[in-house]
């Protein structure tokens, strides 16, 4: 009988570099509130959000991904031709096929890297990091670019009071590759399809097109139910991710949750009993909720602001439509 040859990867993997792309146009609450009969004060009180960024025509999902990835590769000191795999996490690449990732891989100048998109909504980036970790350790890839990118402004209704002030645009990327020490902990992930209705595209494309006055299907969300799930169920998931990585909550330096809403971050930190010394990502205040892009954007921001340093132990946790979630502890590059 013929025995197949298999390959072994690196014993350990880690995040080697981080990059971000923030669209140029800053949109303050004052531009949003009239259409939803609200106020700057209410939006800030409800979400912490002061401004967000909306992409223009030239800032496409692919263009933002390429820009963020170039920064991440440069930070990692990795040439694009060394990249074996490109994973794009997004729900707002509006061309159904081909994936955004193939174009990103091409424009980055990879040597025909494997490329595919991941649809896990706000949790997509942490799903991508989990897969990249296993690809590198399993020997399927040596260097993987993981991107979280969204143009949620394309699929957000300006007049929906529950979401118009929340969703925004941007891209963040990391390079995952071999590491001499364990730098990405085991993923704790899962889904709860029973609650698929809590955050979703309002209708599918066929129904949208068949309507008398067809319009772009937009995102809808049941805010209070999502708040309950995100603040409490995710606190338990966060603790599981710490346990699986063998890290106590006191050893944590940075907490980087999906930037859904500053109130969720506060409630999550309280429900987790996060110690006061842990630095908490608050990028949502200036960036809004950028779904799959929010964790890498917040990570890049913390590094740039000096709140996160090389060697710091950070907990990443992301959660959203599906419902789906993923969390892992990482050591920062």
């Amino acid at each position: 009988m013929t025995t197949l040859k298999v390959e072994q990867g690196s014993a350990y993997a880690g995040i080697l570099g981080v990059g971000a792309y923030r669209p140029a146009r800053v949109v303050p609450n004052s531009e949003i509130v009239d259409a939803i009969d609200s106020s700057d004060e209410w939006v800030q009180q409800r979400s912490g959000i002061k401004t967000r960024r909306f992409a223009d025509e030239s800032e496409t999902v692919v263009a933002m991904s390429v820009s963020a990835s170039r920064d991440a590769l440069e930070a990692a000191g990795i040439d694009p031709r060394q990249v074996d795999c490109v994973i794009v996490a997004t729900v707002s690449h509006l061309l159904q096929t081909p994936s955004a990732a193939t174009m990103v891989a091409h424009e980055l100048g990879t040597d025909g890297a494997a490329a595919f998109d991941v649809s896990a909504a706000c949790a997509g980036f942490c799903h991508g990091v989990a897969m990249a970790n296993d690809l590198v350790r399993g020997g399927s890839a040596r260097y993987v670019v993981v991107i979280g990118v969204e143009r949620l402004s394309d699929i957000t209704s300006r007049t929906d009071r529950g979401t118009a002030f929340i969703f925004a645009d941007g891209a963040g990327a990391v390079v995952v590759g071999p590491s001499e020490t364990p730098a990405i902990g085991p993923v704790v992930w899962g889904s709860d399809g029973e609650q698929y209705d809590l955050i979703r595209q309002k209708e599918d494309w066929r129904d949208a097109i068949a309507a008398d006055a067809p319009e772009m299907p937009h995102l809808v969300m049941q805010g209070n139910e999502v708040f309950r799930w995100a603040s409490f169920s995710m606190g338990k998931v966060a603790h599981q991710a710490l346990d699986r990585a063998g890290v106590t909550i006191d050893e944590l330096d940075c907490f980087i949750p999906h930037q859904a809403n500053n109130r969720i971050t506060d409630a999550l930190a309280r429900s987790m009993k996060l110690p006061a010394h842990v630095k908490i990502a608050r990028d949502v205040i200036d960036s809004g909720n950028t779904s799959a892009a929010s964790v890498p954007l917040a990570l890049e921001r913390m590094i740039r602001d000096g709140d996160a340093k090389s060697g710091d132990v950070a907990l990443l946790i992301a959660f959203g439509a599906g419902l789906s979630y993923a969390a892992q502890v990482v050591t920062l590059p």
Partner: protein, 82 residues
């Protein structure tokens, strides 16, 4: 637990979640109008209360809990039924 003990324990939760002075959390006070506890904070209060008192407060009941007294009565009957 007496009504007063439930009120006092609930007041501690409201203080922790929303920063409201625990002495202000009296039975006749409205969460929204008197204590400035909005719907998101109310979700947190409810979940903490469920844990503390060992009861279940479904989402569709939360909107009926307008005053501290409403919440205390709900918790009392839920505990009695348990």
């Amino acid at each position: 637990m007496s009504t007063e003990e439930i009120r006092a324990a609930l007041a501690e939760i409201v203080n922790e979640v929303a920063g409201v002075d625990a002495d202000d959390v009296q039975l006749d006070k409205s969460f929204v109008e008197d204590l400035d506890v909005d719907s998101l904070s109310m979700v947190e209060v409810v979940v903490e209360a469920e844990e503390k008192f060992g009861v279940t407060i479904p989402d569709d009941q939360v909107k009926n809990l307008k005053t501290v007294g409403d919440a205390v009565s709900y918790i009392e009957s839920a505990r009695a039924a348990a």
